[in-house]
């Protein structure tokens, strides 16, 4: 395995690690099964793609703009969705993902529809270019570490403990006077912003976006990273991301065609979801059993 390839894998692990960590804040900490993570990933990727690919703006400013979008959208739908629970929450977030994917596909004047947006440049800051893969890895890894410690920090604060209490018994918490809806809303926004930033990094790294990367199936894929690693476990999310990024690469090494490898990956993570639910609902190193 050569160095360039390892760099590529590590960049993907950093980006998907951010996604897994931020989704774990929702699913693992708070017990909200969100199937809309790919939608926020898409909001970030498309904001970067449009701002950089079409209007040649600055990456970091565009990232800031994308985060603002994420906060606005997540607050708007969070206000509505916070009142749902369990499977209805899952269904409503899934509905949002379908609507957003449909927007990316059909609002051709903004997103170019199924053609996607090519030619997204790498970030630049104060004359430093992150054009090479190794410098981009540094950037992605910084964002990944920031997410990691942010999550560690949240887990330790009283805010994090309230989230876990929401997961265990929301009614009881309400009786004690906590406004659980606000807590759910805040964590939903934090998680959405991180997914959006991950999306921006992804678009800039791959240099091309199209709607097929932000569907419900991608949300399910992100969920399986969280579940494989372990709900509520910070290290677990990282482990889940590593496992699910590396497996399709291994399949390619064995010599399957890319399409076959994609199906094998789906088969693998589908089967893993079923087996984990049956025999180890807390995931590999998780603390919380669904």
């Amino acid at each position: 395995m050569d160095f360039a390839y390892l760099t590529h894998i590590l960049i993907l692990v950093s980006i998907f690690g951010m996604l897994a960590l931020s989704l774990n804040m929702l699913v693992g900490f708070t017990g909200l099964l969100s199937l809309a993570h790919a939608a926020f990933f898409g909001v970030g990727a498309y904001t970067i793609a449009i701002m950089l690919g079409m209007y040649h703006g600055n990456f970091f400013l565009a990232l800031l703009l994308a985060s603002v979008f994420a906060v606005v959208i997540s607050t708007a739908i969070g206000l509505v969705f916070s009142r749902f629970r369990d499977d209805y929450y899952a269904l409503a977030t899934l509905g949002f993902n379908v609507i957003l994917a449909s927007f990316l596909l059909n609002a051709e004047s903004i997103t170019r529809g199924p053609l996607g947006i090519p030619g997204i440049p790498r970030p630049e800051l104060f004359g430093i270019s992150f054009g090479s893969n190794s410098s981009f890895l540094v950037l992605a890894f910084i964002f990944f570490l920031a997410t990691y410690f942010c999550m560690k920090y949240i887990a330790r604060t009283s805010f994090g403990r309230v989230l876990k209490a929401v997961r265990e018994d929301e009614e009881a918490l309400k009786v004690f006077g906590y406004r659980t809806h606000s807590y759910k809303l805040v964590i939903f926004s934090i998680s959405a912003v991180i997914a959006t930033v991950a999306g921006g990094l992804f678009a800039s790294y791959i240099s091309y976006v199209d709607p097929s990367t932000f569907t419900v199936n991608d949300s399910i894929f992100m969920l399986s990273m969280v579940i494989v690693g372990g709900l509520g476990s910070v290290r677990g999310s990282v482990l889940g991301a590593i496992i699910l990024v590396i497996i399709p690469e291994l399949l390619r090494f064995v010599g399957f065609s890319p399409d076959m490898a994609a199906q094998m990956r789906a088969l693998f993570y589908g089967a893993v979801l079923v087996l984990l639910m049956m025999y180890r609902p807390q995931g590999l190193i998780g603390e919380y059993k669904l």
Partner: protein, 288 residues
């Protein structure tokens, strides 16, 4: 408005297809109390089975349809016995079951894509010549007519079955409270297995009809099911009538919406409707 009659016909066709998946899904959900997201996979397995048995094995279409229904029932029962029943016995939470069914749905999709490629497949060529009718300016095919009549017959049969037979009463008892039903001597496990089989048989028809009508894709199962779930939630799944009404609302909203906004927004309309209903009428129009 020249397209108006055609929009009505299209709405009715969508209504029939959505009802065909919403009815069995509602029955399943009402009895088992968890969202079975693998049900769309079961339906589309039947669609692909028809494609295989009528095409590759060159059987008559009607035989292929019957075999396909049997295959779907087999898959559904295997999943239930092998995965969902053990989970339910353990009193696993709904979310655990939901994720497990999601996993099964992905596995079915991947296996179908490996066997039949992830490209579009069209089983309708094995139907031969399909007649086209035109009534009051709206055009539809014989397949659509069959679909429409079939749904009405199936809904009536299901209604009769659930309200007039001993079995139907047992299903209602299980739906009300499985524990109590078991205590008073109803063989709950057998009842549920039978419900799973009946639901799979009806769902199979939805998968087959959808395959004949618009062709097959491995991802079509989940998409079809989501429409069914929306219809079942809009109408309420306690009765046979609920999913039918839900399917009609969804079918008309989607197709009439096209008159105002472009057709690619169908999915957005459907899920917008779902979210509206989840907010204002989470138990559906008819609480039953």
């Amino acid at each position: 408005m020249e397209i108006f009659p055609q929009l009505i016909v299209n709405s009715l066709i969508s209504t029939a297809l959505y009802a065909l998946i919403a009815l069995p899904f509602g029955l399943l959900y009402n009895t088992n109390k968890f969202f079975d997201l693998s049900f769309g996979g079961v339906a589309i397995v039947a669609g692909y089975s028809v494609f295989y048995f009528a095409g590759v094995a060159q059987m008559p279409v009607i035989v292929a349809v019957l075999i396909a229904m049997a295959v779907a029932i087999g898959v559904a029962l295997a999943c239930y016995r092998g995965i969902y029943l053990p989970l339910r016995k353990r009193k696993a939470k709904n979310l655990v079951l939901l994720i497990a069914t999601l996993g099964v749905s992905i596995v079915i999709e991947a296996v179908l894509a490996m066997l039949f490629t992830s490209r579009f497949q069209d089983p309708s060529r094995y139907l031969g010549e399909v007649k086209t009718f035109s009534v009051l300016g709206g055009t539809f095919t014989a397949l659509h007519a069959w679909l429409f009549v079939g749904v009405i017959v199936i809904a009536l049969l299901l209604y009769w079955f659930l309200s007039r037979t001993k079995f139907g009463k047992a299903v209602k008892a299980v739906a009300d409270d499985e524990e109590v039903a078991r205590t008073i001597g109803i063989p709950t496990r057998k009842v549920i297995l039978l419900v799973v089989a009946i639901a799979a048989a009806i769902g199979a028809l939805a998968g087959i009809a959808s395959g004949f009508d618009t062709g097959l894709l491995p991802t079509l199962g989940l998409r079809l099911l989501l429409k069914g779930i929306i219809a079942a939630i809009i109408g309420g799944s306690n009765t046979v009538f609920g999913p039918l009404a839900g399917a009609a609302i969804l079918g008309f909203a989607e197709n009439m919406g096209i008159a105002v906004i472009p057709g690619e927004w169908k999915d957005a309309i459907a899920f917008g409707l779902l979210i509206l209903f989840l907010i204002f009428r989470p138990k559906g129009l008819f609480k039953g």
